[in-house]
Amino acid sequence: MILVALITILFLGGVLAWLSEGLSPKAPRVVALIAVVIDLLVMFALLGADTGDSNWIVQLNALWIPRFGISFHLAADGLSVLMMVLTAFLGIVAIGAAWDEITDRAGFFYFNLLWTLAGVIGVFTALDLFLFFFFWEVMLIPMYFIIAIWGHENKNYAAMKFFIFTQVTGMLMLISILVLAYFHYVQFGWFSFDYFDLLNVSTSGAIQMWVMLGFFVAFSTKLPSFPFHSWLPDAHSQAPTAGSVILAGVLLKTGAYGLIRFAVPLFPEASMQFAPIAMTLAVISILYCAKVAFAQTDIKRLIAYTSVSHMGFVMLGIYAWNEQALQGAVMTMLAHGLSAAALFMLAGGLQHRIHTRDMDHMGGFWAKVPRLSFVALFFSIAALGMPGLGNFVGEFLALLGAFKANITLTVAAAFGLIFASVYSLWVIQKVFHGVYRNSDFDDSHLDDLSRREMFYYGAMMIGLIWMGMYPQSFLDLSSATLINLIDETGQVFYAVGQ
């Protein structure tokens, strides 16, 4: 029930936030904040729960459309809980980012924000593939509105691009889900969309590969991975700050989660055969997008490309499919969730203050806004993989594990560490170092970080330091899930490998 509560609180909170706009234009943000905080507190109840023998902390399985074997099956294990906590935490941060920025139609904005979060929580807990697809769509549409209504100068193009990329690839996944359910019907005599039933379906050869690719394309578009990444820079540069926070911090992670939970376990042989290609795409993502990032002058586009580059490490780790690599992928998801969200907030904060995203107009901000500059330095350093902060743990583990699976590709991926330092330090130089200049913008609103902003950034900094210095708190949560997945798929995986 607790999982239903988590989702319902967000759905209802969204509706209430919308309705409350009639009371006061400032009411929606308070309602939304309360709803997400309650959600986060409820999640903490899951952290201490005893899982017993199974890895599932809570499970709920109710009939929904029995005729087609569709059930309302929600469950959470350590991995889901980690992702949900990240979602709720960044949900709060996103509300903080929107606090002063969103004044127009605020009620509808918070409605969309909370519904997106509800969809994400659903994605992280659904164990019925039909239900999973339902939530996958739920998180898409409100996000479309967030970009299309509250976005910047080119918002319609960006929102439509985001929608089409996700929708088209989502359809491919739907076809794969239906094919899989059909195979279940053929082999067992009844329809089922349940995860555990579908794990037993045996498919083989080319068909398995095609069905797997349906999932892979959907997930790797969301991740995103080269060559499906090009919606992201537009979406990020046009989305309002809160939208970017949710997009980079949470939505991208649903793609990685889908690969770990569904794409590989459902199709171990096909995934094993496909692994070298997936890892190659990951390496291309890392290197190519780091290079493109360096060339950008729009600070949000730059950060968007670095996101693709960092998510490459996640994909690399997933397709190496051993404990260190998978833990590395999960840690990278968490750490990148915080660092990318923070960087987008900083970029959004700058845009809010000086009404430009063009780095060619900026420079020397350190002298003017030292706190903001220090915070930006911190998150840039985190993003380039400084040991002691979370991103290092993730990327190091991912590479350490991937090295066992494929030496050549891992060595190539490691060059991403060099590129990361090139673009990160370039941003610092362009925006914060050098001589202060304000000839291209009005700097009357260029104030240093407020107390409220420092609170959000401080929380994210503590999170990254915690992940970097004592990652065990997070690793322990996901380890049972990951070890279990490796055990179940492992024999097939390695049998094909030899």
């Binding site: 080269f226 493109v292 020397g364 220090f374 090295f403 891992t410 490691a414 050098g434």
Partner: protein, 616 residues
């Protein structure tokens, strides 16, 4: 007492945190007390630990503070490992580090970012201590990256000048190339040996890998990549001279005494791997030799007082690499220590000169300054004597040991020895060229200025003078680390060779005297020769390496970035959109609403289909 070893990095870390969290709102005295005091506390703790450790007679001591992470069989800890080698390093770092911090409290007094400076410095010391005390390579890597970060922050400390930012980025990115090689080395070691705990890993390597095996070669080469980056050796040496953009105490601490010797420490720490790969070890020696000669030539041509010292640092670390390469592990560490003393002295003295002469860097705009700047003069005399290995100064003992070890080596030993001796000749020339030009001859410019050297700046100079003179008599307790229980052999070097080693640096000083003091020979006449002039230009530019890397790496990268700014992949999707738009408008045009047009097209289609059906 040994259990308190975790305090060593903790004091400076707390200093860093308190300076950052107060964000520059503390009075300068408080900043000075926190900044220098934290390092002082670390030094006292280190000294007490050292006394107890040496008294106990143990070979090593391990303390795990907490388990960092544990994933499958990978479980590095926040663990400290103390043996003779890390003991020497921690004393150098905290001792010399404290002196430089003390000096900085005076040197940086007029800087508005006083607090930020000490925050970064403290973070640096904390990272450096992590690096040398780590018991596993992951924690070592943490310190390794941490010092690189602080180096970046401090080179670009005066961030308003874009060229400082450029130098800082160059340093970070160049060393990161090495760091990446090292990281890959760690992956390889872990995949093959199953642990990154240094002692366990070395033990496993010794038992599992044969001498000269491919894995040993690969692993030691990858670690060497990291070492040449941090220690500014060929081919990654280009960043160090530019790193002089930072405040001078930074150059003393980071870019001379401690961080740049991290590569030497890494190789000494993992020397077992290099012994398993004799060819790589020999490569270390050749890298050291070539670097020390190239840097020596370049040092002779520079005008900037700090760049001369920077190239001499590259050159002296070259000697340490040479020592490592010929298996003189403890001699290299010994030279690391004496070099820390005399190079810190030289840099701090250079700082005094620069500060006193209103940020003048060009030695040819100085002259006859020995009376005007007496403390700096004394420091430079002593420091340069030690640098040139004048008999019985500290540098003499350590350089002597390295060269003797080279001579005793079979095979290419004699060649390496000759190269090293030639290098010592150049060291004599360039170090005293600086002394003669700045402090002797007729006084040029800057007549009015007085020497700026208050108590906080003079005290460290005096202490370092004593150490530079007599530091050679210190016995470093590293035999147990390197000897594997064997007794060190007696040296049997002929008197002639010894005589050469003493005479050559003196000869260098004499040549320098003839050129720059008595003006018996004229540099200008030498430069009149076109060949000499172009050689001079070539050496001055650091053997054209910057231009080469610019051409090979920087320009292509910038070019690729520029032409693909709008992302080729996106163009593909844009094309897709365009095609469907065109198709849409073409198909839309067929819907004319005219009946005869529809009838025509139906008839035509039927004919076409029948034709196709018949043909196929």
């Amino acid at each position: 007492m040994q259990d308190l070893i975790w305090l060593l990095p903790t004091f400076p870390l707390l200093g860093f945190l308190s300076l950052v969290l107060t964000s520059g709102n503390l009075p300068k005295q408080a900043v000075a007390v926190i900044g220098a005091g934290s390092i002082g506390l670390s030094f006292l703790t280190a000294a007490a630990i050292a006394v107890e450790f040496l008294g106990s007679g143990e070979t090593h001591f391990v303390l795990e503070v907490w388990r960092w992470m544990s994933v499958g069989d990978f479980s590095p800890g926040f663990s400290f490992y103390l043996d003779g080698l890390s003991l020497v390093m921690m004393l150098i770092i905290t001792g010399v580090g404290f002196l430089i911090h003390l000096y900085s409290t005076g040197f940086m007094l007029d800087d508005p970012s006083y607090s930020r400076f000490f925050a970064y410095m403290n973070l640096f010391v904390a990272s450096m201590l992590m690096l040398v005390l780590a018991d596993n390579l992951v924690l070592l890597y943490l310190g390794w990256e941490g010092v690189g970060l602080c180096s970046y922050l401090l080179i670009g400390f005066w961030y308003e000048k874009p060229e400082n930012g450029y130098a800082a980025r160059k340093a970070f990115v160049t060393t990161r190339v090495g760091d990446t090689s090292m990281a890959i080395g760690l992956f390889l070691l872990f995949a093959q040996l199953g642990t990154l705990n240094i002692q366990d890993m070395l033990h496993a390597a010794e038992t599992q890998w044969a001498v000269g095996s491919g894995l040993a070669v690969a692993a030691s080469l990858l670690l060497l990549g990291g070492a040449v980056g941090k220690s500014a050796q060929l081919p990654l040496q280009t960043w160090l001279p530019d790193a002089m953009a930072g405040p001078t105490p930074i150059s003393a601490l980071i870019h001379a005494a401690t961080m740049v010797t991290a590569g030497v420490y890494l190789i000494a720490r993992t020397h077992v791997l290099f012994e398993l790969a004799p060819n790589v070890q020999l490569l270390v020696a050749w890298i050291g030799l070539i670097t020390l000669l190239m840097a020596g030539f370049t040092a002779m041509t520079q005008h900037d007082i700090k760049r001369i010292l920077a190239y001499s640092t590259v050159s002296q670390i070259g000697y340490m690499f040479l020592g490592l390469g010929v298996g003189a592990w403890s001699a290299s560490v010994f030279h690391l220590m004496t070099h820390a003393f005399f190079k810190a002295l030289l840099f701090l003295a250079a700082g005094t000169v620069i500060l006193s002469l209103h940020h003048e860097h060009d030695i040819f705009k100085m002259g006859g300054k020995r009376k005007q700047l007496p403390i700096a003069f004394a420091s430079f005399m002593i420091g340069s004597l030690a640098l040139a290995a004048f008999p019985f100064t500290s540098g003499y003992f350590s350089k002597d040991e390295i060269l003797i070890a080279a001579l005793e080596m079979e095979g290419p030993g004699l060649l390496l020895w000759i190269g090293g001796v030639i290098g010592a000749f150049f060291t004599g020339i360039y170090s005293f060229r600086l002394v003669f030009v700045v402090f002797f001859g007729e006084s040029k410019g800057h007549h009015e200025e007085k020497e700026v050297a208050g108590f906080s700046m003079a005290t460290p100079l005096f202490i370092l003078m004593v150490l530079a003179l007599f530091g050679g008599w210190i016995q470093i307790p590293v035999d147990a680390v390197f000897s594997h229980g064997e007794m060190p052999e007696e040296h049997h070097i002929s008197g002639l060779m010894h005589g050469i080693m003493i005479a050559v640096p003196l000869l260098g000083i004499a040549v320098s005297y003839l050129f720059f003091m008595s003006k018996t020979f004229s540099v200008d006449k030498l430069m009149a020769n076109p060949l000499a002039a172009s050689l001079h230009r070539f050496w001055f530019s650091g053997w054209g390496m910057d231009a080469l890397y610019d051409l090979l790496f920087v320009k292509p990268f910038l070019f690729l970035a520029r032409i693909n700014k709008s992302d080729l992949i996106d163009a593909f999707y844009a094309l897709l959109v365009r095609v469907s738009q065109v198709a849409h408008s073409m198909l839309a045009r067929t819907q004319t609403g005219q009946l005869n047009w529809y009838a025509m097209s139906i008839a035509a289609s039927v004919v076409l289909l029948i034709t196709l059906g018949v043909l196929l």
